[in-house]
């Protein structure tokens, strides 16, 4: 597709449920990022992949959060045993690998997760 796509767009989960959020990056984009955006705040970094390698996961808030990108394209962010504080919009972004030192990221529409 022309842009980054994410599914589902909305997800409601009961506390304690596991959820899986999907990201389809722009074709050919090597780098993929996940961000979490709480209401009224700017996005905050969660994790970063270059191809299938997870190079940075320093932003994951707990071991309940897990991300994968097994074939270097589609990525899934999984949250186990969801808590109310996990309610947020989860954004995916992709970029070409280093191009003249430029790391412009293109964002998807996000998945709004509500944990009841």
């Amino acid at each position: 597709g022309a842009g980054v796509s994410q599914s589902p767009r909305y997800k409601v989960a009961k506390r304690g449920q596991d959820v899986a959020l999907r990201c389809d990056p722009i074709s050919g984009h090597v780098s993929l990022f996940w961000y979490q955006q709480a209401l009224g705040q700017g996005p905050e970094f969660l994790t970063y992949f270059q191809n299938e390698a997870q190079l940075d996961k320093s932003g994951l808030p707990s071991d309940r959060f897990f991300a994968e990108r097994p074939e270097g394209s589609v990525s899934t962010l999984k949250i186990q045993r969801t808590q109310q504080e996990d309610s947020a919009v989860y954004l995916c972004a992709s970029s070409l690998a280093r191009t003249s030192g430029i790391y412009e990221q293109f964002f998807g529409p996000g998945t709004r997760l509500t944990v009841l």
Partner: protein, 115 residues
């Protein structure tokens, strides 16, 4: 830790007024600087970016930003706003010398333009 600050949380302007949104970051090394915009119901879109060279950067829709290294600032400007500029604006920085390639965002500024 590196951080990004946006001073104005909510700005209300009339059409044709001039706009300046502040952005500061706390870091003395090499940076890549961005302004993103999020229109109601839409995803984040890049307005403009700065990597090197001329510190005055022009973006889409008549926006521009100036990088002042000595002030660690990258303020966004537009000489005359339109109702369609109503949106949330985010300043974002990549702190290059850290080796991290993730964006660090400010908390955003909600701009409301009244017709």
């Amino acid at each position: 830790a590196q951080s990004v600050s946006q001073h104005n949380h909510h700005v209300i302007l009339s059409e044709a007024a001039s706009l300046e949104l502040g952005c500061n970051y706390s870091y003395g090394g090499t940076v890549n600087l961005f302004w993103y915009v999020q229109y109601p119901g839409q995803h984040l879109q890049l307005l403009l970016k700065y990597f090197s060279g001329d510190p005055l950067v022009k973006g889409i829709k008549g926006f521009e930003a100036e990088f002042i290294k000595s002030k660690f600032s990258f303020n966004l400007r537009k000489p005359s706003v339109q109702w369609s500029d109503t949106a949330e604006y985010f300043c974002a920085v990549i702190f290059m010398d850290t080796g991290r390639r993730a964006l660090t965002f400010g908390s955003g500024t909600r701009l409301q333009v009244q017709p």
